[in-house]
């Protein structure tokens, strides 16, 4: 069973349906026990970094994520759900960056590009031994964001470029994350979801 963590980040209907195409049962939940016990936990996220962290902490989400990772249970962060896995984010931060869940030590910062948000389909320099991108190395995925992590963290890194180079995905044992939206990336996105869910 795959749980999609509901912490007030709006529409999860299409994410629910997209993950269901993998053949797994999917539940949208804000219940800590359900989120901890699931075979895989998806952490979505829209909106600003700090607002997302507030929503996450209101359901004890940081704790659930850390506990899953230390118990070798898979977690997949998507978009802002990827960004909040880092230690810090400086979106709308005056001086001191906001704290994230802290799985990876890096600060999520604004992309240096003439046109923002980075919105649309972009290709990815995929990590050689990536599980997520297996068989879909040359596809494009749908991004919509203005901030990104730019530091090499985790076991496998996949990158994309818009103005500058930043992380499109990280795979690090039981915790993975994509800056793009696989649930909005058509058949390529569904293939990535299948790759992840097959690894559970």
């Amino acid at each position: 069973m795959i749980a999609i963590l509901d912490y007030g980040s709006g529409n999860l209907r299409s994410a629910e349906r997209a993950f269901a195409t993998s053949g797994h049962d999917v539940v949208v939940t804000s219940d800590a026990n359900v989120a901890f016990e699931a075979d895989g936990l998806v952490v979505p996220g829209v909106g600003a970094f700090a607002a997302c962290m507030n929503g996450l902490n209101a359901i004890n989400g940081s704790e659930i994520i850390r506990k899953r990772v230390s118990s070798e249970r898979s977690v997949l962060g998507i978009c802002i759900g990827m960004q909040i896995l880092f230690s810090h984010g400086n979106e709308h931060a005056d001086g001191t960056p906001h704290s994230g869940v802290g799985i990876w030590d890096a600060t999520v910062s604004k992309i240096n590009a003439p046109i923002l948000p980075h919105m649309g389909w972009n290709s990815v320099e995929t990590a050689k031994d990536s599980v997520l991108f297996n068989g879909i190395e040359d596809e494009s995925f749908y991004f919509v964001h203005s901030y990104a992590a730019k530091k090499e963290v985790g076991k496998y890194q996949s990158w994309t470029t818009h103005g500058e180079r930043f992380l499109a995905a990280v795979e690090d044992g039981y915790v993975s994350a994509t800056q793009f939206h696989p649930e909005k990336s058509g058949s390529a996105g569904l293939a990535l979801i299948k790759n992840w869910s097959n690894s559970l």
Binding site: G10, N11, R13, S14, R17, A18, V46, G47, A48, P114, I115, L116, P117, H118, M119, G120, W121, N122, S123, V124, E125, E139, S140, Y142, F143, V144, H145, S146, W159, T160, T161, H162, R165, H181, E183, K184, S185, G186, S187, A188, G189, L190
Partner: protein, 257 residues
């Protein structure tokens, strides 16, 4: 690693059906929105836009249902516009499955609505739809409302600058002069708006020949929206992408199904 240009079919929806007319009159029924959305996804549409042109609250409920059914079947981004007046309206559409909303008339009536939506859901959900035409404002382009039927005397470029400062994430620029004519996008209007904005720009109105799509990109558009040329089969989305790829524009090619 290049961001692809986006081709976006727009479906004008009322009573749960797709319609599109020339210059917003003489509406002609062109099909079921969910079926058309699936078809366009298969043909390589990079996003979909629904414009709700129904006038009643009953019509809007029907649209919410269309959005729900589409979001459950089609896994590409969906923007919905038309009749959005409040943060609550945005919330309902996002919960139904829309990824972005576009606003126009209500933002002109109360610009602070832009900041309210951006603060609550983030700029990335908010598309400013600008229906502009040539007129005697300072830049020569005037904003219109109510689907192009009413002028505002508001200068289109000044409005774009104000809206960007308030927090829109994208601009959908629709030329009221070119809309439905298939005589080409309004190139000078696209260039003028590009020059005063740094969010993605979707050009709309006037797409006819394949060269028209390339010309709008050259003028600074990041994405191209069209309706009638796709609905009536004058071009398939795959034809437009093949043409643009041949001329070295970055397009997303979709895997064979």
């Amino acid at each position: 690693m290049t961001l692809s240009i986006r081709i976006i079919p727009c479906l004008d929806v009322t009573q749960g059906r797709v319609v599109k007319g020339v210059n917003f009159t003489n509406l002609v029924d062109a099909g079921d929105p969910v079926e058309m959305a699936s078809l366009y996804d298969l043909e390589g549409a990079d996003e979909l836009t629904f414009l709700d042109i129904s006038a009643s609250s009953a019509g809007r409920e029907t649209t919410l249902d269309v959005v729900r059914r589409t979001a459950e079947e089609v896994f590409i981004p969906l923007t919905v516009g038309g009749g959005i007046r409040s943060v609550e309206d945005v919330d309902r559409l996002l919960r139904a499955g829309a990824d972005k909303v576009s606003i126009n008339t209500s933002a002109i009536a109360r610009p602070q609505l832009i900041a309210e939506i951006a603060d609550r859901f983030g700029s990335q959900v908010l598309v400013l739809s600008v229906d502009a035409r040539r007129a005697r404002t300072s830049s020569g382009f005037e904003v219109t409302t109510h689907g192009g039927r009413e002028g505002t005397d508001i200068d289109a470029l000044a409005w774009v600058e104000q809206a960007c400062a308030l927090g829109v994430g994208e601009i959908l620029l629709n030329s009221m002069d070119a809309d439905g004519t298939r005589a080409g996008y309004d190139i000078s209007m696209i260039s003028a708006v590009r020059a005063v904005s740094n969010v993605p720009l979707i050009a709309s109105g006037g797409a006819g020949a394949l060269e028209d799509f390339a010309a709008a990109l050259d003028a600074g558009a990041d994405a191209l929206l069209a309706a009638s040329v796709f609905h009536f089969g004058i071009h398939r989305i795959s034809d437009v992408k093949a043409y643009l790829a041949k001329h070295n524009y970055p397009v997303r090619t979709t895997p064979a199904k």
